[in-house]
Symmetry: C2
Subunit: 180 residues, 2 copies
DNA sequence: CTGAATTTTCAGTAATTACTGAAAATTGTA
DNA sequence: TACAATTTTCAGTAATTACTGAAAATTCAG
């Protein structure tokens, strides 16, 4: 498992960004390596390539599995387990949306709902509830969107994203459409 | 500065979630307190309410300022600076989108571009570049979207989000629209 | 300009998170 | 079933990140 300079710089970058996400440096590096390599890799290869301990790889793999970000492979006659990333980048993106929603949105929505069910003890609570209501409504809409994206095929997702700067126009198109 | 139990539980939750984001616990708590309180607060009040040092508040404020998440106020005859959050939740959301893009997407896009400009040294690099190209294209589209959202008024943003589960239909509407 | 009020900085320390090596558990083949 | 290959777990430690108090810097009223 030899890493080219090009790969090395991308892996380093993912390491730095990894910590800016919910992940950590090692996890970012591991996933970069897996994504950028065509052939599935086993844990020893990852350990060698990134100069991290075998046990660290094991924990990283476990985490990546919990994010549904890797596919498992078996090579006949080889007892080792091999790992790869989906070849379709949209699939990876979709998975990230789903998992981040689970981790970042869902628990918060549930906390918001709890707060909204309580009786406000005073004026401060009334104001607090107003704000929570706003945040709740927004987050719920984002959740609905992400669910929609989750069920969208890669090519439809691609079409949607490519609309890009045309989002505003689409809204107008939609109005026309609805008025008929 | 007395915190109600309802506020306390929301603040705690934001603290926990804060670390799941790029922020940290204290920053999450500080922002929760500011968002949930109607009146602007000064640094001492925040320090008292959250039981953290004055200097920690100072660093937190600095960070929140760098995220453009707080508004500054001055009360005549009082030299202290007071902080509040925008009352429009959409404004906060918009700011978050912009800032996260700056921090999470832009540097990565730039690293991708660098890699794509290099000459592939071998087959591994060729494959790596393919994957980088895919990721680049996706991220660029997300960036365009986020720029679009950034320039969208709160009510248009709201309209867009409310489409929610109708996104698929809109795409169809768009096709009809374009075919004319 | 002076000095009290306020904010910011920063070195030291505390708390948290990440990583390792050794040992335990699991897997699969003979 | 026995055992070698492989993976996972976990206690200890290293590295990183967050927090504090004291001191420095800034602000502004008189």
């Amino acid at each position: 498992m030899i890493i080219t300079p090009m790969q090395q710089s991308l892996i380093s970058h993912f390491g730095e960004m990894g910590s800016r996400w919910g992940l950590n440096r090692t996890l970012g590096q591991m996933y970069a390596l897996i994504v950028l390599t065509e052939e599935p890799l086993n844990a020893d290869q990852i350990s060698d390539a990134l100069l991290i301990s075998r046990s660290n790889v094991s924990m990283g793999i476990k985490e990546l599995k919990s994010w549904n970000l890797i596919k498992l492979h078996h090579i006949p006659g080889d007892r080792k387990e091999y790992f790869s990333a989906p070849k379709d980048i949209w699939e990876i993106a979709r998975t990230l949306i789903i998992e981040r929603r689970k981790r970042e949105l869902d628990p918060t929505l549930s906390t918001f709902r709890d707060a909204l069910l309580q009786d406000p003890a005073n004026e401060a609570d009334k104001y607090t509830q107003q704000r929570v209501q706003d945040m709740h409504d927004l987050m719920e809409m984002v959740t609905i969107w992400s669910t929609e994206l989750q069920n969208m095929s890669s090519d439809k997702l691609s079409t949607l994203l490519k609309l890009g700067s045309g989002v505003g126009k689409i809204l107008d198109a939609k109005e026309k459409f609805l008025k008929k």
